[in-house]
């Protein structure tokens, strides 16, 4: 088997700006005023260049990454959020440039970093198939040849000439996947896209990808939080931690290292955090989010059950009765969207031992796809604050089939999902 991808000493540096301004982009005004300021500084002879740089911080999203991929390999890339997985994929698909190192790729690369990139809501299904195909790198002739297959795969024959803005989200995802599944590059790069869509369809897509890979010797690089998919689908796996390659080898080993690392190597550093308030007689030491099988996870699915397990350290031998804990969940706009507070449910929490944990079971997680932050608050009788930490962790809800219909709700409009029933009634007119 020949080598198709060679990555050597790859690194990517971002400059983080620490500024009070909210704009994510540079305004000309700032450049002009910064320029004027530094000019003024030079004229005044205080030749310090550091003053401007103080607001910036270097951040290496990837560092010293080297590996080789052989033809026909199916590589699963795992790691926590922010470990650098997506940055790696972005460099491999030439969307962004590396800061150091090099990559050599042999063959045509198609990248699928998002489902339905470039879909236009006003265009019909038919038009979007052509557009999306072209965006993903297919030629018109190729799309034409595969058109019927794509429509078949997506199961949307009847709605081909309807604008996709009228599609249900399930149909939308299916169509987007169908186009992507019929790509025929030598190398396919896929980001966490299988998290959307219903389970059955996910299976169909994985099957299709596997088919393409085994029968036609295509290479697949695949990022996922879905360990089951990684285990069953991939021939090799890369574990990335903190921008570096932690392990490259058998998927099962990578997965178990991933969980080890998460459980012991890095317990969100809660005990050491100083940005906290409260008396400190009880301190939070750890937050684990476990799925229904008891596996620790940092990506959650809407509609699944989770246990939030809070480790604590009590600094006295006194038994504390009527402890109240609150888990407050904030969305990406820092709006408090959910609050799990133990006295809402009259749950009497009693802390006896010096070390222990408090668990909170949340069934049927009602959060839509998105990034959330958690604040934790622990008090005695809801009067004395023992410990309060803002922004304990950031967790990703990657979507999921909350309603059992394939719909994920509309996370950009509303973060809370709840089941509802609908019916109609006729009013008799006199």
């Amino acid at each position: 088997m020949s080598t198709v991808i060679t990555v050597e000493n790859l690194g990517k540096k971002y400059l983080l700006r620490h500024q009070s301004g909210q704009q994510p982009y540079v305004a000309l005004r700032d450049v002009l005023s910064d320029g004027a300021r530094s000019l003024g500084r030079k004229l005044l002879g205080r030749g310090g260049t550091s003053a401007g740089g103080a607001e910036r911080e270097e951040f290496w999203a990837l560092k010293d990454v080297s590996f080789e991929v052989k033809q026909g390999d199916r590589i699963g890339i795992i790691g926590r959020n922010g470990a650098g997985k997506s940055t790696l994929l972005k460099i491999l698909s030439r969307i962004t440039e590396p800061t150091t190192g090099s990559v050599r790729i042999r063959g045509r690369v198609a990248s699928l970093l998002e489902v339905g990139t470039g879909f236009h809501p006003e265009l019909t299904g038919r038009e979007n198939i052509y557009l999306n195909g072209a965006i993903l790198g297919m030629s018109r002739v190729e799309i034409k040849k595969k058109f019927d297959e794509i429509v078949d795969f997506a199961e949307i024959e009847k709605f081909l000439d309807t604008p996709v803005k009228r599609y249900s989200s399930g149909m939308y995802v299916r169509l987007a996947f169908a186009v992507a599944a019929h790509l025929e590059p030598e190398i396919l790069v896929v980001d966490e896209v299988l998290a959307v869509g219903d389970a059955q369809f996910q299976k169909k897509c994985l099957g299709k990808m596997e088919d393409v890979s085994t029968k036609e010797g295509r290479t697949v690089l695949f990022v996922s939080h879905n360990m089951a998919a990684i285990e069953s689908f991939c021939s090799k796996s890369i574990l990335i931690t903190g921008g570096r390659i932690n392990y490259f080898g058998f998927p099962l080993d990578a997965i178990s290292r991933y969980f080890d690392y998460k459980n012991y190597g890095d317990d969100n550093g809660l005990a050491k955090r100083v940005d906290r308030s409260g008396t400190g007689s009880v301190k939070l030491s750890e937050l684990k989010i476990c799925d229904s099988q008891g596996n620790v996870t940092d990506a959650m699915f809407s509609g699944h059950d989770y246990i939030f397990e809070l480790g604590y350290i009590k600094n006295s031998d006194e038994v504390l009765d009527e402890v109240v804990v609150s888990l407050d969940i904030f969305d990406d706009k820092m709006i408090r969207v959910l609050m799990f507070r133990s006295n809402f449910t009259k749950s009497n929490l009693r802390l006896v031992e010096k070390y222990g944990s408090i668990s909170c079971l949340v069934k049927n997680l009602p959060l839509a796809k998105g990034l959330y932050h958690i604040n934790i608050f622990i008090s005695h009788k809801d009067v004395v604050v023992l410990d309060y930490i803002e922004n304990v962790v950031a967790v990703q809800v990657v979507g999921g089939d909350f309603f059992g219909t394939g719909s994920e709700g509309m996370s950009s409009h509303c973060k809370i999902l709840h089941m509802s029933k609908w019916w109609t009634a006729n009013v008799l007119q006199a």
Binding site: Y14, Q23, Y25, V26, A27, L28, R29, V31, K90, I91, L92, S93, R94, I95, T96, E97, P98, T99, T100, G101, S102, V103, R104, I105, R106, G107, R108, V109, S111, L113, E114, T117, G118, H120, E122, L123, E127, Y130, L131, A134, I135, L136, G137, S139, R140, P163, E186
Partner: protein
């Protein structure tokens, strides 16, 4: 089987950039096609807009400059004189507006797929070109109405159109790249377009510009383009100031070359910044 090897290294951009542009030509057409398709969906009169806008502006200019201010039109019907200039100007103005926002409007594409970014603003210019061709029909209508027959010079029209195209594309490249970096340009462009309309000979003819201002006046590259259009379409009544035209052409060329250079340099960081 051919197995092209791609090498990704910092600071290199894409090695085979121009070859890539050729390879991605279909995407280029698809993006332009999408913009044209989407543009008039859910509008009541659809494509008629691209006819209506220049037509109404022409009527207003004819009344204000021709009838009220009584500016000379050198024997050519005033509406035809205005419209002959309105065509390239609208093309330029639309291209500028569309392409300056094009990268930001396609931000989701820039951050998710690779392709030579140049095709995004280029697509916007093509869309404006389609508008140009549609509104050109009105000019033919006007000429029939006024029994005005252009002479052989019309053969030079494509050359001036090329010039308009290069000016639009060059300026579009500059503005689109700057807009990614500094969103301020979002506010600059409408002003630029409005201002440009007054300093370009759209409502009047270049003949009324006083001699001492000529040099400054010709620094606006659209002056050369518009004068060229009038000369090619309307004939001797609008002689071309050749040195002025040469100056405009050089400027157009510089804008385009500079635009490509700047765009290529900024392009690498688009995905990180946009």
């Amino acid at each position: 089987m051919e197995q092209p090897e791609i090498i990704i290294r910092p600071g290199m951009g894409a090695l085979h950039y121009w070859r890539d542009i050729w390879r991605y030509r279909e995407l280029f057409f698809f993006l332009a096609w999408r913009d044209i398709l989407v543009r008039y969906k859910q509008t009541a009169i659809g494509v008629a807009w691209s006819v209506l806008r220049p037509l109404l502006t022409m009527v207003v200019f004819t009344i204000v400059f021709g009838k009220l201010a009584k500016l000379p039109s050198n024997g050519v019907p005033y509406p035809i004189m205005v419209y002959a200039a309105m065509l390239p100007w609208q093309f330029f103005a639309n291209s500028l507006t569309e392409s300056s926002n094009s990268l930001i409007d396609n931000a989701n594409l820039l951050t998710k797929v690779y392709f030579p970014r140049l095709i995004v603003p280029a697509g916007s210019v093509i869309v404006s070109m389609v508008d140009f061709l549609i509104s050109a029909v009105i000019l033919v209508g006007l000429m029939v109405w006024y029994h005005f027959v252009p002479d052989m010079r019309i053969l030079f029209l494509p050359a001036f159109f090329m010039m308009a195209f290069m000016a639009s594309f060059g300026a579009g490249l500059w503005l689109s790249a700057l807009n990614v970096q500094y969103r301020d340009f979002r506010y600059v462009v409408p002003f630029l377009v409005q201002f440009g309309l007054y300093i370009s000979p759209v409502g009047f003819s270049s003949a009324i510009v006083p001699e001492q201002w000529r040099f400054l006046y010709f620094l606006n590259p659209m002056v050369g383009v518009i004068d060229g259009f009038r000369w090619a379409l309307l004939g001797d009544a609008f002689p071309v100031n050749w040195s002025g035209l040469a100056l405009s052409s050089v400027l157009v060329f510089l804008i385009l070359a500079g635009g490509i250079f700047y765009f290529r340099r900024m392009e690498r960081s688009f995905a990180d910044v946009v």
